[in-house]
C-alpha cells in the first residue's frame, strides 16, 4: 500500500520509500541530501524558500513515484554462527548475513587490536544512506554482537542488519582507495564515489 508523502515526513523516510525521490528533490533545488545533512528532519524544514505552488508541484511529483516495499526481505533467524566456505579456490567467512573475503578477515584482525568492528547504516550522504564503520571496545545498547572469530566481534544494530543482509565485505589495497568495502547487493542507487547508497 503506497504511503502518501507529506511535508511532515522526514527526508529519510521519503528516501526509504522511494529512492528516486533523491533525484527529484535535488533537481528541485532542495539541499536535503549531502554528507552533513540531517535527513531525520521533516521535508518542510527544507522548503523554507518555496512558495505554495512549488511545494504542491514537488509533492505531486514525489507521490507519483513508485514506492518500494519498505520492509527489507530478511530471514527471521539472526545468523549468529560463523560459517567458513570455500568457493573455488577462495575462502569466505559468513556471519550475520555478511560475507567477509579472506582479505577483509585478515586485514580487520590486523587492524583491530582486539577491538570490535561497528558497522552502522545511517541516513545521509548524496544518495540517502551511507555506512559508518570503526573499531570500538563495546557495542551500543541497541546493537547485537556477532563473533567473526574469538578475537573479533562485529557490532550491528537491527536497522543495519535488516538492510545489509547478503552484503559482501572486502578489504582492498589499491592505488586510489584502500580499506573496507561494503558491497550491498540491494542498493539501487549510489553516488559517483560509491560512498552513499539507497535501496
Amino acid at each position: 500500500m503506497p504511503q502518501k508523502i507529506t511535508t511532515d515526513m522526514s527526508v529519510a523516510t521519503i528516501i526509504e520509500l522511494t529512492p528516486d525521490s533523491v533525484v527529484i528533490m535535488n533537481n528541485a533545488g532542495l539541499k536535503c541530501t549531502g554528507c552533513n545533512v540531517d535527513t531525520t528532519k521533516p521535508l518542510k524544514n527544507f522548503l523554507k524558500s518555496f512558495d505554495e505552488k512549488a511545494v504542491d508541484k514537488l509533492l505531486d511529483h514525489l507521490n507519483k513515484l513508485k514506492q518500494t516495499s519498505s520492509e527489507p526481505k530478511t530471514p527471521e533467524k539472526k545468523d549468529f554462527k560463523l560459517h567458513e566456505i570455500i568457493e573455488g579456490n577462495k575462502r569466505y567467512y559468513k556471519i550475520a548475513g555478511l560475507t567477509f573475503t579472506e582479505s577483509a578477515y585478515k586485514n580487520l584482525h590486523q587492524l583491530s587490536e582486539k577491538r570490535g568492528l561497528r558497522i552502522r547504516l545511517v541516513t545521509g550522504g548524496c544518495s540517502g544512506f551511507k555506512y559508518e564503520y570503526d573499531f570500538y571496545d563495546q557495542p551500543e545498547a541497541n546493537e547485537k554482537t556477532y563473533q567473526l572469530s574469538d578475537s573479533m566481534a562485529i557490532y550491528m544494530d537491527d536497522f543495519t542488519f535488516d538492510r545489509s543482509y547478503g552484503s559482501v565485505i572486502d578489504f582492498t589495497i589499491g592505488l586510489h582507495s584502500s580499506g573496507l568495502q561494503i558491497i550491498n547487493p540491494r542498493k539501487k542507487r549510489a553516488c559517483s564515489c560509491g560512498t552513499s547508497i539507497s535501496f
Binding site: 568457493e87 579456490n89 577462495k90 559482501v168
Partner: protein, 102 residues
Amino acid sequence: MNDQLKDHLHKLINQADVVLFMKGDKYIPQCGFSAKVVDILNEFEIDYSTFDILADEDVRQGLKEYSNWPTYPQLYYKGELIGGCDIVCEMYEAGELEKLLK
C-alpha cells in the same frame, strides 16, 4: 587436449547441478555479464557453484575448447551447457530458466 585436462573439466562441470564458470566468483564478480548471471541465480535462491576462470588459465582455455563455446560466463545444468549471459537472460525473461533450475 590431453586426457588429464579433459577429466578435470568433466569433474568441474559435474561438481553440482548448477555450475557457473565466470570471471570472479559469486561473491565478487569481476565482469558485468558474469555479475548479471549471478544476480539471476541469487534471485532463485538455489544452491550453485561458481568457478573463477581468471584464477585458472588451463581451465579458462580448455573449457572453451571442450564445450566449443568461446566466451564467459558459461552456465551448466546437470553437466550440460545452457549458454552465456545472453541466453540465460532470455530464458530468465521467458520464465524458462526458473522452470529448469528450481
